[in-house]
């Protein structure tokens, strides 16, 4: 059974969160945290996998995306409050979070809602920018260190990263 109707939740601060529910109606609940170029609709191509896995997926527009009100001043951690609010409305005590693109937000939910979040899947995640033991930008194709000089270095780095595979990825 697949449900894809939109639901709007009005929060105490006046913001609206828009979400959809998809997959197995009474399945285990997984929240999807979309990435920077996403919305609640990114689950659209996943319906078969959801049914096979017996999962009820809750996919919401993060603030400022789709039908959800912008939330100036929000932090990555704010996602935990928004997920908790939707879970409250749905009466869900235990859930998992899945970040296909929104992995920092999924990890925030796991960190801040430990009694509620049973598991978090951070798919192709990014580590915190402040991670001092990690060279955050090394071999990174899309982003460069803010103080890096302009020029061709990014394109070269992408080409080097793909090497003999020869994929024609041009990130400009």
């Amino acid at each position: 059974m697949t449900i894809t109707r939109d639901h709007d939740l009005q929060l105490a601060d006046g913001r609206v969160l828009r979400y959809q529910i998809a997959g197995t109606a009474h399945g285990a609940t997984v929240f999807l945290l979309h990435g920077a170029l996403g919305s609640r609709l990114v689950h659209d191509s996943l319906s078969a996998a959801l049914s096979d896995a017996g999962i009820r997926l809750v996919s919401y527009d993060r603030p400022g995306f789709g039908g959800s009100t912008p939330h100036p001043g929000r932090t990555v951690a704010s996602a935990a409050d928004d997920v908790a609010a939707i879970a409250d409305q749905l009466g869900v005590d235990r859930l998992a979070v899945w970040g296909p693109g929104g992995s920092p937000f999924a990890l925030a939910c796991a960190a801040l809602l430990p009694d509620r979040v049973a598991a978090a899947a951070a798919v192709a995640p990014l580590a915190p920018y402040q991670a001092s033991t990690l060279d955050w930008f090394a071999r990174h194709g899309r982003w460069r260190r803010p103080d890096a000089p302009p020029g061709r270095r990014r394109t070269q780095r992408v080409a080097a990263g793909h090497g003999a595979a020869g994929r024609g990825v041009d990130l400009g």
Binding site: A28, A53, A119, A127, P128, G141
Partner: protein
Amino acid sequence: MAQLAEALTSADLARFVEFSSPTLPAPDQAILKTDAPARHARWLATAIPGAELRVFPDEGHLSLVYGRERDVLDWLAQQLAVTTDPKPPGRA
């Protein structure tokens, strides 16, 4: 963990608690493999207590989302079944 907490928010530090959930950082390799390099996932797997690292050497950022979704969803369902209900999910 301090670094992770700082990344999540500086204002909400007081609310930060230790991770107690199993986590699955699944790094990125092939298509746009430099977009979310695997070392980020390795760093997270080291920083998060109890984290489980899975590497898919032939997958990339997008192919992990749209090609390996079943692996991820099955893992999440398994974790929820262990912690919430002795019955496997999806029997309803």
